[in-house]
């Protein structure tokens, strides 16, 4: 029972990070019908930027509780500029090209970012400084620590905030209008390029937060960390129904749970033949299963509605 509860806690924490990243995929897909495969690298850049800012500030003797939020904000700003740049350079010129073309530039951007990161930050794993005391708490025999609590609550708050922005503000209305019909949105006076840029910047800011969360949770950052995380978050977005905000949130949390429960019990299920290091396999089983049995995802609409 303790193990079960522990896996639930771990799954929800990891899942909330997936959800934040999945939102970036789903917002861009919703508005442009494009999978931004470079999004995982934005997560990595966010983590790396935060790490550099944090190291520098701690080196100058800044108090850790001040340095952490400042480096988070710097990472968000950096990633927003990056997200804007990616759209401007790699996607906008191909807006009317066949759909395969921007997919290929996305992979190109991804490779460029990975290699740039490797040149700047090196190939080694970086220790992400532990700044919060990170007290462990015991609930029902399972352990949850401060960082995990902060990650989970912050992620939920950000998701709630995003729902409010998209459904209750003028900007959110414009985003939904552009997602549905770009020509009609222009006829309302919406500068669609501006709305698309803002969407990329919002998604990238969420990616930066997710990157800092992952690094703080595992205490590590690495130039290659965005690749697998990005693929899993993409899986989460597909699971929830790509293009659907609530779907990305649900898909992220579910994928976190599936992964963590799967890793926790795979040893028992296979009589010790497979161990918890097969954790990563579950996400892709989920991806294949969704694509085969329910391609529109859990909360997704029928594809016909997008035509």
């Amino acid at each position: 029972m303790e193990i079960f509860l522990q896996q639930i806690i771990n799954g929800l924490v990891q899942g909330s990070v997936y959800a934040l990243v999945a939102l970036g995929y789903t917002m861009v897909y919703g508005i442009l019908g494009l999978i931004n495969f470079a999004h995982g690298e934005v997560v990595m850049v966010g983590a790396m930027l935060a790490l550099s800012a944090l190291t520098a500030m701690l080196g100058w003797g800044a108090p850790p509780l001040l340095a952490l939020p400042i480096s988070l904000i710097l990472a968000m700003l950096g990633c927003m500029v990056l997200g804007y740049g990616i759209e401007r350079i790699a996607y906008r010129p191909l807006r009317h090209a066949p759909r395969l073309a921007p997919l290929i530039t996305a992979i190109g951007v991804s490779i460029v970012l990975q290699n740039l990161a490797m040149m700047i930050w090196g190939r080694q794993y970086h220790a992400f400084p532990q700044l919060v005391a990170n007290q462990p708490h015991l609930i029902g025999g399972a352990i949850i620590n401060d960082i995990q609590i902060i990650i989970f609550i912050l992620a939920l708050a950000i998701m709630a905030g995003l729902i409010v922005v998209v459904h209750r503000t003028r900007l959110g209305r414009a985003m939904r209008a552009v997602a549905e019909n770009q020509h009609a949105a222009q006829l309302m006076g919406v500068d669609i390029n501006r709305v698309i840029s803002i969407t990329f910047m919002l998604g990238s800011a969420l990616a930066a937060i997710a990157g800092v969360m992952v690094s703080a949770n595992y205490g590590l950052a690495h130039y290659y960390m965005g690749f697998l995380l990005g693929l899993k978050a993409f899986t989460a977005a597909v699971l929830g129904g790509i293009g659907n905000l609530r779907g990305a949130m649900l898909g992220g949390l579910l994928l976190g749970l599936i992964e963590s429960l799967g890793a926790g019990y795979i040893g028992d299920m296979t009589g010790g033949f497979l161990g918890s290091h097969y954790q990563d396999v579950f996400a892709f089983f989920v991806l294949i299963a969704v694509l085969v049995f329910r391609p529109s995802g859990l909360l997704g609409e029928r594809i016909a509605e997008r035509a």
């Binding site: 222009q186 006829l187 500068d191």
Partner: protein, 242 residues
């Protein structure tokens, strides 16, 4: 009597529009005075929709000039023309199906900043289209075709335009609803708004308008007062089935 204003609100000179190799509009001239209701009629594929889209800025002219309120529109982006007072109700309505009726109307007011006036205008739209008032909170995609046409018109009016362009407002609607839509168009015109009405239903359009243009394969072949056009043999034969 038909020349209400000496300097027209909109003046189009030798407008040409092409999609790749297809020359859809081949050098047309037209003008609309302020407060005038002008009909642009013609058969399917004559270039009427292309003309409207170009005036709204969704398409770019190959050559020619569009003057609006003394300004040259050629290099002004579509979304900026809305703030200048040009509104287009597109063919097929272009209603945002996944937004509520109220949200659709607010999208119409997107380029305005006068919050109080927007609220008053929302109330005016509810008075003009009582059906929409009942359905404000409903997703626009769940409405009937006629109701969606009302949403599209109310939404365009929410931008408080000086020039309202309507593309086939009667398309796909039941006769009773068509009558209703045309009554509303007359009401709006009576308020002094300039209207450019594109219709395949030539009789209805010419009865509502004071002047008309007839378009055929990308060119304007006839123009004049609505009464003259309604009486002319060519129009009778081609568009009025008589």
């Amino acid at each position: 009597m038909h020349e209400i204003n000496l300097t027209p609100l909109l003046e189009v000179r030798d407008l040409q529009v092409a999609y790749g190799a297809i020359h859809a509009v081949k050098g047309i001239d037209l003008h609309i005075g302020s407060g005038e209701l002008v009909a642009l009629i013609g058969s399917n594929g004559a270039g009427k929709t292309t003309t409207l889209k170009t005036l709204a800025g969704l398409l770019h002219p190959a050559s020619g000039q569009i003057q609006y309120g003394g300004e040259n529109l050629n290099n002004i982006a579509a979304h900026r023309r809305v703030a200048m007072g040009i509104a287009l109700v597109p063919e097929g309505r272009g209603v945002f199906a996944r937004l509520t009726v109220a949200e659709n109307l607010l999208m119409g007011a997107y380029s305005r900043n006068d919050r109080h006036e927007i609220t008053t205008d929302l109330e005016r739209m509810c008075a003009l289209f009582p059906r929409l008032a009942e359905r404000r909170g409903q997703l626009a995609g769940t409405l009937s075709g006629g109701e969606q046409q009302m949403v599209a018109m109310a939404r365009a009016l929410m931008s408080s335009p000086r020039l309202l362009m309507l593309d086939e407002p009667s398309m796909g609607l039941a006769p009773l609803m068509v009558q209703k839509i045309f009554e509303t168009i007359r009401d709006i015109a009576a308020l002094g708004m300039s209207i450019l009405l594109v219709e395949q239903n030539a009789r209805l359009a010419l009865q509502a308008a004071s002047r008309g243009y007839v378009m055929e394969s990308g060119a304007i072949t006839l123009s004049g007062a609505s009464g003259e056009l309604l009486g002319s043999d060519a129009v009778q034969r081609a568009y009025l089935g008589g």
